[in-house]
């Protein structure tokens, strides 16, 4: 079924009886060419591009719970490509370009809204750092604008420009960045993959890998064994748990990051704003809720909830940046589990086990990467060669010393 404005009008005339489920609910077949473990954004995007761009057949996506029940449903929906390092920026800009054409490609409203992201500057040194970052972005074909204090004031007059400790001196604006409807992205990719014959199998937990002579030949699942020629794992947040079943240890720790949403307010914040003096970022959803977040809690955890010190820290940062936020009431907060890698950058690579491929280590930047991650992983699965923009995301880069450490924080995952 093709979606269009005409279709909406036609359905309205006949009581909306013609809408069909977006995807089938098939039972697993005994064998596939490609088994993707993880039915979140990245797994579904991988299956979609495998089927569409690389014309592969016999693909299954195995999801432990329901489709999109992981981090695609728990993030703060920001899309951007404002990275510094050559290993990262071309990849995220590739993702940004895919976002720009995503809805037409999927024929699905993912509510991609290019409302801009503004990184605030509070010191001369930070201005230099952001100028350098902006230039790196321009070199990779992204957009970047360095704004002075008055230009920032015209955009967001209510920010605390004269904070005694952290006055606002300007900002780095990426106007093409913005937000997208996170669930819609999962649903759009799932529908697109399903239409091209991909079996999306929910409530199907992978409990082990069948490995014979150093080669993966299938997976054990809660719904029986499934043979696979190639197996791709996209389970960021639980990567260590799943890859451990294949006997692998990863350069990853699992950490929780909390997010918050306020009651619905009148339109106040047009784009995304990040505080440059503490870890805090904020945007406003189309429903009016202020969506914001901050730092990791900082300890290994698989519980999808955090502790109060970070709640307090986020609230403090918010008040320092935008005192008016103190009048907004918090509606809810939640936590998501991140694959925090040892250099803060992701991994899309083969593994030492033939036929087993790994996609993970997304830290708290996985949502924006969804389209490019899926595309690059599909490229790797189909052609056995890395996508040019993802060639640096090797699993062995840690041992070889080719880290992609945006923050320069070293092998301490809770600092990235």
């Amino acid at each position: 079924m093709k979606y269009s404005g005409f279709r909406v009008v036609a359905e309205a005339l006949f009581g909306h009886k013609g809408w069909k489920p977006l995807w089938r609910d098939p039972d697993p077949k005994p064998a596939y060419d490609f088994v993707i473990v993880g039915g979140g954004g990245h797994g579904l995007a991988t299956a979609y591009y495998l089927a569409k761009t690389f014309a592969e057949k016999r693909i299954a996506v195995l999801e432990k719970r329901w489709l999109g029940s992981g981090n695609i449903g728990r993030n703060t929906t920001i899309i951007r490509s404002n990275y510094l390092l050559p290993g990262n920026e071309p990849f995220y800009e590739f993702s940004m370009k895919l976002w720009e054409g995503l809805e037409q490609d999927l024929n699905f409203n993912a509510m991609v809204s290019q409302r801009g992201i503004l990184n605030l500057i509070h010191s001369d040194a930070q201005r230099d750092a952001y100028r350098r970052r902006g230039n790196a972005m321009l070199l990779a074909g992204a957009d970047a604008q360095l704004l002075d204090r008055e230009a920032v004031r015209r955009m967001y007059p209510y920010l605390n420009f004269d904070n005694a400790r952290f006055p606002i001196k300007g900002g780095l604006l990426q106007a093409r960045a913005g937000t997208a409807r996170h669930d819609g992205v999962a649903w759009g990719y799932a529908r697109g993959a399903d239409l091209r014959g991909v079996d999306i199998i929910q409530n199907c937990e992978v409990t082990g890998f069948q490995i014979e002579g150093g080669k993966v030949v299938g997976v054990e699942t809660s719904r029986g064994p499934i043979k696979a020629k190639k197996c791709g794992v996209c389970v960021a947040g639980s990567s260590s748990r799943v890859m451990e079943k294949a006997g692998m240890r990863l350069p990853i720790e699992s950490h929780v990051i909390q997010a918050f949403v306020s009651e619905g307010l009148k339109p106040t914040i047009n784009g995304v704003i990040t505080f440059g003096a503490g870890h805090f970022y904020i945007s406003q959803s189309d429903k009016g809720g202020l969506v914001f977040g901050g730092d990791l809690d900082g300890y290994n955890t698989y519980a999808q909830r955090g502790n109060l010190p970070v709640v307090e820290d986020v609230a403090r940062c918010g008040m320092a940046l935008m005192p008016a936020i103190g009048r907004a009431r918090l509606l809810r907060n939640w936590g998501g589990i991140m694959d925090m890698s040892m250099d803060g950058s992701p991994i899309i690579d083969r593994t030492p086990i033939e036929g087993l491929y790994f996609n993970g280590g997304w830290c708290y930047g996985g949502f924006k990467a969804t389209p490019a991650s899926g595309y690059a992983f599909a490229h790797l699965l189909s052609t056995d060669a890395p996508h040019p923009t993802a060639a640096a995301y090797r699993l062995d880069r840690f041992a070889r010393g080719y880290l992609i450490d945006e923050k320069g924080a070293g092998a301490q995952p809770n600092l990235h």
Partner: protein, 97 residues
């Protein structure tokens, strides 16, 4: 989260800095054969279990001791806390025997 400090009693986790897996106490020896691989694994690879995890916390805003905390990463329940010094001495004594 309250950490039961072995000397000071329950202290707010906010007073501590988190380092990671307590196996980091056992630093590989640079003179061993295969030290390069051992150090690479030591610096970069982690077990990252879902469940009971032994980990290092530094009482930065307190008595500045290192603590080995045994904690469940699924529930945040803390099962045990010992001075890292005691843990290291005990494992050295065990290795010496």
């Amino acid at each position: 989260m309250l950490i039961p400090h072995p000397l000071l009693g329950p202290r707010d986790a906010e007073e501590f800095t988190y380092m990671g897996d307590a196996s980091l106490i056992a630093r590989p020896s640079a003179s061993d054969p295969g030290a390069e691989q051992a150090f690479s694994d030591y610096v970069y690879l982690r077990d990252n279990p879902a469940g009971v995890h032994r980990e290092l916390w530094f009482h930065e805003a307190g008595d500045r001791s290192w603590i080995v905390v045994t904690r469940n990463t699924l529930t945040h329940e803390i099962l045990d806390a010992q001075l890292a010094r005691d843990v290291a001495l005990a494992s050295a004594a065990e290795a010496g025997e």
